[in-house]
Symmetry: C3
Amino acid sequence: MTPEEKLKTLGIDLPDIPKPLGTYVPLVRTGSLVYLSGMLPLKDGQLLKTGRVGESVSPEDGALCARAATINALAVLRFALGSLDRVVKCVKISGFVSSATDFTQQPMVINGAVDLLFDIFGEAGRHARSAVGVNILPLNSPVEVEFIFEISEDVSL
Amino acid sequence: MTPEEKLKTLGIDLPDIPKPLGTYVPLVRTGSLVYLSGMLPLKDGQLLKTGRVGESVSPEDGALCARAATINALAVLRFALGSLDRVVKCVKISGFVSSATDFTQQPMVINGAVDLLFDIFGEAGRHARSAVGVNILPLNSPVEVEFIFEISEDVSL
Amino acid sequence: MTPEEKLKTLGIDLPDIPKPLGTYVPLVRTGSLVYLSGMLPLKDGQLLKTGRVGESVSPEDGALCARAATINALAVLRFALGSLDRVVKCVKISGFVSSATDFTQQPMVINGAVDLLFDIFGEAGRHARSAVGVNILPLNSPVEVEFIFEISEDVSL
């Protein structure tokens, strides 16, 4: 199955792309790489949850937020590329988790992003990643995730 | 106008490049990309401000610090490339904001960097970016910003 | 001396590669770059230290942890490339330091990674870097370090 078919099978409808909070852009291409801006778990313009994981947000809800941020990333990718099938591989994600000072399961939270990428892209979705705790994120979001993808050389952006 | 002309118009004098705080270098080239080390808002060897945004540093001063870190990045770039006119585009910035635990306007702070890049490089200055809060930064700096630029293939570094 | 010879001279035995904490991979290649996942100071499956630098972990021990994370990165690199001698250069490291709220010497901690790279790769080990403080890291690790290396084009991964 192609990534686009996988997406349909999983019942995921990609939303409109989130509006940047400044004069930057959601995606930049350089050579065969695309860099995405940090994605938040926004849905219909609202954060899925607010607060720190380990305080007002459970690790499970944190993982759902990381998944939602990834769905926004896929929406940006499809908008730019026309189709997710033009993704060659996911290269790197950096996951920031707004964390209680004693919360140490950031990897479990960011696996919400990691697992969705694997579900959609299969082996090509296996990426390098980091998961880091921070004390606070924009709009009091529980997570923010950055992405680097490799795309087909024949895509013109 | 070229980036160098824009810089003149804006009345910005690029300073001497900041000294690395270790055996690393301010800029590394790989292919058509240059990666810059995390830049601080140092001016004449002194931080413009110290402390957390939302505590002792206002969001407006935080944005000025992000702008000052960007001016240092441009100084490093011009030193390495000879001229900012050899920049093809700004690819990515990662902005870390030392933040009070309830400060959630990191995007506004990092827009101090984002807006200057747009002022100088125009459309080529529109990049992917992230803005993240952290509890503390080197030397108690309010911001630290990383940059990736794409440069002309014919530049030899 | 080659990097592999340097390693021997320094008496460093590269360990088995650390197991990813999810369905991601320790290293991804794209073109001539390899991106490594965030590395922790694990040795034989145990963190060298736990806690924040400036609280229960001294800056010196923090630097040893950054060095240990780098040794794990080198283990991953050698496993993937067959030999460290196929590294062209170290491009970028991002160092996250779990920090007491008043600890501002993150550069000194991350120099534990920086200095080892220079010892092993010489001039090719001089990279761009950032050092950032955070309130908490996975498994309560004092440091997490990400790496980007450039490798020989003739390596097939």
